[in-house]
Symmetry: D2
Subunit: 481 residues, 4 copies
Amino acid sequence: MGLRSPEEYKASLRDGRAVYYRGERVEDVTSHPHLGIAVDHAAIDYRVAEDPSYRELATVADQSDGLISRYYHIPRNADDLIKRSRLIETTTRLGHTLVILIKEIGTDALFALHLIAKQTDEKFGTAYFDRVRKFFEYCHANDLAVAVAQTDVKGDRSLGPTGQQHPDYYVHVVGETSEGIVVRGAKVHTSVSINSNEIIVLPTRNLTEQDRDYAVAFAVSPNTPGLKLIASPYAEGVVKSEFDYPISSRHKMIETLTVFDDVLVPWDRVFLRGEWQMAGPLAKTFVEFHRFTAISYKLPLVDLLLGSSELIADYNGTERASHIRDKITWLVSYAETLRALVKMAAIECKIADLDIAIPNTLTVNMAKWHFAKNYHQAMAYAQDIAGGLLVTAPGGDDLQSKEIGGYVRKYLGGRGDVDGEKRLRAMNLVKELTTTDFGGYQAVLAIHAEGSIEAEKMATLREHDATKFKAYAKEIAGIRD
Amino acid sequence: MGLRSPEEYKASLRDGRAVYYRGERVEDVTSHPHLGIAVDHAAIDYRVAEDPSYRELATVADQSDGLISRYYHIPRNADDLIKRSRLIETTTRLGHTLVILIKEIGTDALFALHLIAKQTDEKFGTAYFDRVRKFFEYCHANDLAVAVAQTDVKGDRSLGPTGQQHPDYYVHVVGETSEGIVVRGAKVHTSVSINSNEIIVLPTRNLTEQDRDYAVAFAVSPNTPGLKLIASPYAEGVVKSEFDYPISSRHKMIETLTVFDDVLVPWDRVFLRGEWQMAGPLAKTFVEFHRFTAISYKLPLVDLLLGSSELIADYNGTERASHIRDKITWLVSYAETLRALVKMAAIECKIADLDIAIPNTLTVNMAKWHFAKNYHQAMAYAQDIAGGLLVTAPGGDDLQSKEIGGYVRKYLGGRGDVDGEKRLRAMNLVKELTTTDFGGYQAVLAIHAEGSIEAEKMATLREHDATKFKAYAKEIAGIRD
Amino acid sequence: MGLRSPEEYKASLRDGRAVYYRGERVEDVTSHPHLGIAVDHAAIDYRVAEDPSYRELATVADQSDGLISRYYHIPRNADDLIKRSRLIETTTRLGHTLVILIKEIGTDALFALHLIAKQTDEKFGTAYFDRVRKFFEYCHANDLAVAVAQTDVKGDRSLGPTGQQHPDYYVHVVGETSEGIVVRGAKVHTSVSINSNEIIVLPTRNLTEQDRDYAVAFAVSPNTPGLKLIASPYAEGVVKSEFDYPISSRHKMIETLTVFDDVLVPWDRVFLRGEWQMAGPLAKTFVEFHRFTAISYKLPLVDLLLGSSELIADYNGTERASHIRDKITWLVSYAETLRALVKMAAIECKIADLDIAIPNTLTVNMAKWHFAKNYHQAMAYAQDIAGGLLVTAPGGDDLQSKEIGGYVRKYLGGRGDVDGEKRLRAMNLVKELTTTDFGGYQAVLAIHAEGSIEAEKMATLREHDATKFKAYAKEIAGIRD
Amino acid sequence: MGLRSPEEYKASLRDGRAVYYRGERVEDVTSHPHLGIAVDHAAIDYRVAEDPSYRELATVADQSDGLISRYYHIPRNADDLIKRSRLIETTTRLGHTLVILIKEIGTDALFALHLIAKQTDEKFGTAYFDRVRKFFEYCHANDLAVAVAQTDVKGDRSLGPTGQQHPDYYVHVVGETSEGIVVRGAKVHTSVSINSNEIIVLPTRNLTEQDRDYAVAFAVSPNTPGLKLIASPYAEGVVKSEFDYPISSRHKMIETLTVFDDVLVPWDRVFLRGEWQMAGPLAKTFVEFHRFTAISYKLPLVDLLLGSSELIADYNGTERASHIRDKITWLVSYAETLRALVKMAAIECKIADLDIAIPNTLTVNMAKWHFAKNYHQAMAYAQDIAGGLLVTAPGGDDLQSKEIGGYVRKYLGGRGDVDGEKRLRAMNLVKELTTTDFGGYQAVLAIHAEGSIEAEKMATLREHDATKFKAYAKEIAGIRD
């Protein structure tokens, strides 16, 4: 055991899992023309551990298992969080702004499960903590890729689980045997499920007593009977040209509608079952870790929005125009404020139970909100700086054409000796980030991934101590209670 | 002569024009799998004239030519402008938010040419006006589709034509014969050129005396020797599923890099040649008309952003959530403020020379800026309202699959009896508008088409009479000059 | 009877009304050092009717009463609304951005009372309409100044009238005699009550059956026993220097806490009493008219924010700096979009019952929201353009000083021959608009007067017909119900 | 020597300095009704050193002078900067959001002078550093209050010193004697000059060779012959009621137009004289330190905007309304993002020459810009949350009145048992912060103090390393230079 190679990782995905794409069963995700890109992309998390340039950041020495992936290192202090953040940022940079996620999200869930399992055991006399600990050891010892399925399909989103048209709109326990529990329902937005080794399932919200059967957390292997992974065809239409699509032709992440058609989960993989009071805290604690992952992996994206805008402005000859400088300044501040908040969230972490360091929740949520609420404006500025050629330019095939390639090279040149090819390459980068399906994917993730904008706002307010601020106001106003 | 049928229009496009797509020459644009969609879409401008529901709006009785397309009716007053605006809005609605443009833009240019040709003749003793008038009569008598090529490739955008690396970075006259002038250079962003009958070429900016050869305006047929239309492959990857891509599978507009490789233009089609003082006014006057076209055709787009957001909120069961109401209210105000300004621009028009009604330039530019500067926020709200399924949902093939279709239909249902199919249809509409290549196309058009955001700001300031406002300030401040 | 002179108006205010200012009873508001400014300001509404330059706009011929104030002319069509709007704008311009209000608000209430009294009579068999009509005739025949008291003090604003700590937190009927009703409670924000001839009292919100006694509307004279007008000392500290305070030294509006300490209201002045279903409609209908008044009187304010910014930029020598141009462009668009919406609200009015023209409610609310939500940004830009001297400059006394006046005149000069006095005069105008108590007053009015920002948003959404917009979405999405 | 008491500080200000207020010479600033408030306020910087609760933060042990003010401790590392920041924040909290400044700004200038004097000496063979060091020792040994005069009056702001109408629009050297230099001109915005012991004069911008005589830096005592301090009467009208004006009745800062009417400056107080190349660097280095001071002292202000908004929402009973929560969340994020950036600027400081720690300039400028560009929106939200009573409420005198006090107390009560007095106290706090002259003062300072918004933007862009960001873009785009 110990660190796996990218090849070992890929081989582990050929296990009979029920993956569907555009209505068809996919036998081998690693060789599928679209899904295979996602597998290759995900392998970055394994490649960095082998690469001498990244090994020190990507791995840590563990007392029991020798060198393990740093992702599986439970953060104990600010420095651990800073390094974890830097690793996430680094692999995402290698993924050309697309997060890898196959170890990031799973460990976020596992850290949260440690904390909540312990609290649940203390409160309800259950024995979840030991199961969590063992499962965690199994994952890190085998260097596994782990997905997390949290968001239920929800039906009418104004209602909880029990008021719905179908009882199955939230995943729930429908039976129990000596071997384990039987679950039914479906989760959406399950990232990297088709190319992970385990899927951790968590509740998605606070529950009430009547929702008891919906209070369930567990882990399953993707090839478990009854589990169906229906992959989204989103961005299927992308042509595989690195010239025209410099990012999405090589990097992809796949989400599934994850259906639990009466799936049996063995008892030792059940981490919550009926303790409805803990569903909310578990959901929240996972998100606390996961939003820190999120703000870490957004850094290369905002850096590239900035860098590609600066590059195309340079090529267009407009770098010194006052309105261009204005927009670039805005992008600088957008990116660097995010960077400062990410680091501050680590520095001002809270050491929780079990000596686990939790990134500062207020700062994490402000950072995420800062990122999310300004993202579309950042896109708009990048488009504004780049120009209309984003959507009207000829493509790589035109540049290669004997008949017309010369026209394209000549006429689409920019300032000085920047020829049409160079300029189109820079242009296509802004195009990928802001106008193609990939750009749309990043934009929607900005708003919805790891909790929506509204969720970040609620968390920001919740983490704020109003009493302290009101007290200062009362003091100056001369109000005595 | 008189109105043409859609079929006649299509037939007219098979004339040997040199169109290129992804590096290959296209023999017949009407039957090409991608370009053909654009041709079908454009035919809407002909279909409305035949359709009894739209005929009254789409046509006018002309004294010499009988019933002609309303587009060719020179606006004489506010009411004419209101009707022209309504026609543009109506055809764009039929085009599912995508403007048709094959008569809109050409007539915008022709109205401007009338005004500027007359001024040029008066100032320089030339005889352009008569050429313009005849060409205009030829176009409306034959019910032609007319494109406009204005934006030069520009090279270093901080420099004018003469300071560039290549003299050809702006279209210019390189020779003259008894038959006409010979032009060289290239224009970008030429919309509907591959499927029009004429291309009007206009200068793109103010020029100086040394730029004399760049001061040129004319019309050419797309099949003129030396003219190359290099079509942009943008959005080529779209899969032709109406379910997944409800708009772009049926509606398309194509832009070209339009290369003039020593093209001979007959004298009777030359509308400016050397009078550099008129290049700026011509560019500006065209844009004055064209931005009014633009704000008219943006109405269905903002209406649909609003309507699809309301529909998906309804299906999601979130219509009454306070933050959803807040975002919808913003979208209502965004759309309806635009609508009010469009109408006011017509009502407060200026009757210019030749009895041509020019929409109020200040109002037009404010309207355009209002639309453009808020567009990305509108997209963000639509995405926020719709949810992450925009980019993670299964597709139409999944819904049709015997094996898994049932899961999709069941689990992606919304409030009440809204099943998965209905909800995905609504979701896919927001997806098209905000996350796919089509959404990206509309977003870039919002910022750059008909002049960039910065251009609209400059026009807004230029049209404003500061003296009047300063006078009020001086009066109150007690300042006497 | 007929039009009154300013002097007659002032004389009419010396009637024993119980006005309090800074804890003291004020015997004569017209001669009070602070309140008197408000009286002089209000007299503008009488002065314009005498001034030949404004008489045509300010008056109309009435069949029964000869020449009457245009304010008392019930609007019948778009043109009437446009003229009413222009009159309000004009008097506010004369009031140096401060609305006059003494006829504007009262007639807004009277128009609404006409409509609601008629509906109430039809629905409940009451006889309010005739009382309203007679009271209206009395007001216009005597050319009266009429205030409106609407906003109850409200106590806990999350509760309606009946759930409060005190039953008196909303004005209500506490008794009834043969002569009339007895009312108790208090209203806040009652503008111009100290200098009006009548006060119309309206309910402030929707009511429920249990709130029956709170459903009351009536009119009282300010000197009615039991009525106490407690004037706000806000902005009391302003020094009366026209140089330093070019606006507030000459223009003022006073609000009162208006206390009804068991006030008897004669039956012929009671316009609603118990018909709780009509309280909401009456409140809303008044506001529909009053917000149109509001957007009309905001025009001089936004014009002056723009004009004074342009003037000081000119004097500072920064008019051509790109960031200054950018901010001024924003201010132009802010002001002119408001102007366009005001006019469009009149043009697209609805002709209601009794042939009364109601300005387009959707447009009015969008206009108001546009004004309100951007107002503080407009202030920020004006301050940014003007510079720090706004709060650090010497004053008029310094300029007059023999010892140091020369320094001020010399050193605070601007571009060219703009000396310190001219520059300070321009500076002080921006100061008044944005940094003094007067600026704060306008800022709070922007947000709260005539309904808060949130109220405008709610009205905008309510007036919007979602069905139409959803239908377009369904059509394109291929959804059939 | 050593620390001075507040009384010693006040006594030191009675030295014959030429202070003018509203056109009159002020003999003793400490006893003047308006200026005296500013003196009392400033004394806080002395009081904290005596107060056991603050002494540890406010003082440090110095090897030569025993206990000295921490302000005079040159920062050597992040921790020193954090403590300096915390001290500035703490005294400003005691100053009820108004910075004290009499030691803060002077030491900012002195730190910068150390760095630039050394560089100048190295480059030009001058001997400024020793003078600076001695002057610094003199200041800290005597615990002096030190103002800084930087901004020249400037005349036409589009021109440098030599192109102006008057040569005196920037302070310059007009003569030289054996004793020192003679300077003429005027500075604006000189804070705390009337109540400091020394005034340090710095250049305000980059200069060219022809501006040599404008390249001058020095220190003078306020009572130096020829020096005139013309105090701004801004906010003079404030009534001294703690109830109505809880902040400005007790806290004030005074700016002067500071006129140098041929003032002789002894050689040992001249720190730059003719080395025009160093004017820009000196201006910039001062500002680098001073903006860190600024963002530190803005913290109590944004905290109080938040806290007072929360308090009044609580009293109004609206704390749980969704739109109120939304606005409060925004304020939380506004305040806490600023706090995070302030701390990060210290943590990521740069250790410069002479072992002086300079706060991270990029972060400082982003923090300042974040504060400044959002400040007016924060004011708007606070006003929105508080309600219209901000400008229409009765005052403290009304509450004290026997006749009407009861009405005010009763009718202006809020939720539960919050009576009118409590609610008005909370209301008056928001009023002070957002609607009175004091609120206007803070608003203008937000935009202009320590450099304008545009200056912060320029610094942000200048401190950003575009090359690094472009390189990442090129790597992904496949561009090789």
